[in-house]
Amino acid sequence: MSDLMNMVLNNANTQWVLLATMLLGIASGVLGSIALLRKQSLIGDAVAHAALPGICIAFMLTGEKSLLALLIGATITGLLAAYCIQFVISNSIIKEDTAICLILSVFFGFGIVLLTKVTQSPAGNKSGLSDFIFGQAASLVGSDVKMMAITAAALIVITALIFKELKVLTFDPEFAKGLGLPAGFLNLVFLSLLVAVIVIGIQAVGVILMAALLITPAVAARYWTDSLGKMIVISGIFGAISGVAGTLISTLGEGLATGPFIVVTATALFLFSMFFAPGRGIVTNAIKRQINHKKINRELTMQKERGEYL
């Protein structure tokens, strides 16, 4: 086992893959925290699922598995889905959850139809296209993985630069507009950042589980702090741990998908936080309540003994 681990860690490509999934995890955790507070978790899920038809169309058009082309395709259908959701909400009586459910299934279903068609056609080297469903970090190579790492790093930097603006816009959009902030533009910037992190994440994590890497670290981080800045940092760390652990585990076995291991790691962190986080965890809270009740009862008894009550 440790020999295998050594072999994995000494491989230059694996090192790049680990760096890339770590940065991806940080970027997902950071942007996911804001998406969570903006109540856009489901939009993220829809965008991720809607990336699949874009990937297939890009493959059909170019006839090769060039990651850049596939990701451009994913971005276009992902953004289109986000736009469709907004359109349905603004122009019909359909509410947001229904609209998201509707658009997500339509785009994903269409993606699966295209994927089936592509894998059945004789032309081109289509091997690995189905990796986009559950993610395969090990299949990332050379320039692709560098592009992914650099994009993730850029997303983190941009978010840090406009952190203050995103914060006030998320907490109180009307007050933010009253301050003179361009709310429409900032919303668009944030949506673009969100789509970008989803798109660079889908090869490693897969379209189905990408939303979990966005949201789970953020929900877990919320248990540890009441400050947005700290929540984002903790969420980024949880995301990084999930990305790295998931990648390592899936690299150890032959043909193991990465996405599920990333999500299982993130979920383990979430469960631990939910039960044991100081101040908010279920177990810690129960213990604290016990101690508190005992203390109050003891004080009451002492007061009665001193005759302060009649």
């Binding site: 507070l37 630069l161 406009i162 203050k164 603006e165 914060k167 006030v168 998320t170 907490f171 109180d172 009307e174 007050f175 507009k177 009253g178 301050l179 003179g180 902030l181 919320r222 702090t225 009441d226 400050s227 947005l228 929540m231």
Partner: protein, 250 residues
Amino acid sequence: MMNPVVVKGLTVAYQEKPVLKDINFEVPEGKLIGIIGPNGAGKSTLIKAILGLIPKAAGQIQIYNKPYRAKDRVVGYVPQRGSVDWDFPTNALDVVLMGRYGHVGWFKRPGKKDEAFALECLRKVGMADFADRQISQLSGGQQQRVFLARALAQEAKVYFMDEPFVGVDAATERAIIDLLNELKEQGKTVLVVHHDLQTVKEYFDHVLLLNVEAIASGPTESTFTMENLHQTYGGKLAFLEKGQMIAEQK
């Protein structure tokens, strides 16, 4: 004297029927102005339209003789308390600091001076001891005071407040009205959406009576009359008897 807020022909429509129709009014500088009217009269809409938060179908807004621009930082805003998610991970001081963001500018973080200023604003509303308190752990009245402190941090000349007295206890209401009077003494102009007719005469120098149209506006003494109330609130009989009593109190 220049009137700080001048509204001409303001019309707002979400659907076919206008929510606000041809509103014309001016408010004098250094006064407390109550915006009074029944539910659905468009009181909040009026504030939002003046601040450019919702599009207007027609009309002009002048703040100190210039078309309103948020970035001029002349106007402070206190939204309804219920309009935000109080579970947001932040503390009272941090919310007040948001009032400084317009002064801080893009890409920069608020500095020590901004923090000291925000703390001073919290002190003015009697909330200095709660600076580090998570906002979900504040009472309704305390949350309202944090919103007021945030508006103070904006250092504006004109303030718009959307129902600051809703859901606060008597002590907080008193504290808020004292603060508004202090602002007035500093020459600031404060417009307040208000519901409680019983306190109108006590609190406000001027009133704007609103029900889709501007029914009347002017000094409280001459404008807050039974006749105008009748026109503003329509045929709500039981209510009007009460209104009669209030209007006759001197």
